[in-house]
Subunit: 225 residues, 2 copies
DNA sequence: GAACGAAATTAGACGAGACTAAGTTTATAG
DNA sequence: CTATAAACTTAGTCTCGTCTAATTTCGTTC
């Protein structure tokens, strides 16, 4: 059996690995977990002993084939919980992350399967991230352009927004931006500000470029049905 | 903040205190928690330091006025979860205890309040135990006779069954015994066997006297409406 | 190719919560 | 009133996951 903390490390490694496609560095993991580097090193040794990660000293870690499904299981729990909290328990978009982060380690697979069933086996969570199936298949590994990749004048549909920053989520929510929202990019400044026009018709919404780069968005070109 | 383990101790003390109305002994608590006695003593010191229990060395512990509401909060979480798992997630009667025992420490009060709302603020859990309100009032402190307190020929309604023993619950469930079931006591043997006749009309159900004493049941006399 | 700085690891300690072994206290029997 | 058994506490150790301080390795720059 794995502790909740070990599970958290595996989840973090999965995310970071997904982002960069390289071995995950000790320092990156330490920052992401909010601990000091030696704590990471010692945990990596324990996980490596159980054959959940491959640890190349001084070079970083990556999940093994044993570790990946465990990470995916936790991610499935997390995203199903987020969906359930918003859809069935009237949670606000910005509130779900912390609750799901705690509960993901403590619900059984039976619990996860039951809420998946009630939700009709949803494909994505409220932030647009794909939910692994019960067999731990995960779609749309990582594809896609971000808001920052488009030009002024482009019309795009928001696909995914990051789920960690509650303040950002509240801001986006207040301005009507969710996965599925269609927006037009009306301005990109040299000092890193991206301005959007909502389809709905409110006043434009400005975002720092760093934020724009964390939001996935797909072109609304006519050929893609 | 309290650890999940500290919460478990407080809950256990509450239950045991409720049963006997005396200070709870170290040995009783050790057995209930599945640990050795010294572990209990050292935990009692920590809880006493935080003024959650009053510990009289060699004599036992009792919850303080600070400790009681914390125990009640956890019991509220537990019983609401049991109700929710059976009513909304199709859990079997016998399956809910373990899941609730883990989750009770990790759900927020917000989560508890939301599921309470969805359930219509139920008064009792699936085993008939009262659920504390959001204000932590708990009804029906402990009253009531058990199956073993009645005579042959008496007709009674089952009120509460213990929730810890999954095998017993499965057995009772298979024989149609739930809170609310009306039964007649048809035999009490000298060697400790109690036999019941179900209102429904199936064949009689036999229980050891020890079990009968753990099941609350109220007389179906005509005067109590 | 040597030296330096950043990153990682090793070494050693600590708090939580458990354990075993050893010593106290309490209660009960004679 | 004393002896003794049971219950309880104290003392000391262990594992887990963290920390700080000290050391080693890597990669790059001159």
């Amino acid at each position: 059996m794995l502790s909740a903390i070990m599970e958290d490390y595996l989840k973090a490694i999965y995310y970071l690995q997904d982002e960069t496609d390289e071995r995950v560095r000790t320092s990156t993991l330490a920052e992401h977990m909010g601990v000091e580097q030696p704590s990471v090193t010692s945990m990596m040794k324990k996980l490596a002993e159980r054959d959940l990660v491959h640890h190349e000293p001084y070079k970083g870690v990556e999940l093994t084939d044993t570790g990946i499904p465990i990470a995916l299981e936790i991610i499935r729990h997390h995203r199903l919980l987020e969906r359930y909290l918003t859809d069935h328990l009237e949670y606000d978009w910005a509130e779900v992350h912390d609750e799901a982060d705690r509960l993901e380690h403590h619900i059984s697979n039976q619990f996860a399967d039951r809420i998946a069933e009630q939700l009709g086996d949803p494909a994505v969570d409220p932030h647009g991230d794909p939910i692994p199936t019960a067999e731990l298949d995960i779609s749309a590994p990582k594809c896609g352009e971000t808001l920052a990749d488009h030009q002024v004048g482009d019309s795009v549909r928001i696909e995914r927004v990051p789920d960690e920053d509650a303040d950002l989520l509240r801001y986006l929510s207040e301005h009507g931006i969710h996965p599925g929202t269609e927006v037009e990019i009306v301005e990109v400044t040299s000092f890193g500000m991206v301005t959007l026009d909502l389809d709905g018709g409110d006043e434009p919404v400005a975002l720092p470029e760093k934020v724009a780069r964390s939001i996935s968005a797909q072109s609304l070109s006519e050929d893609t049905s």
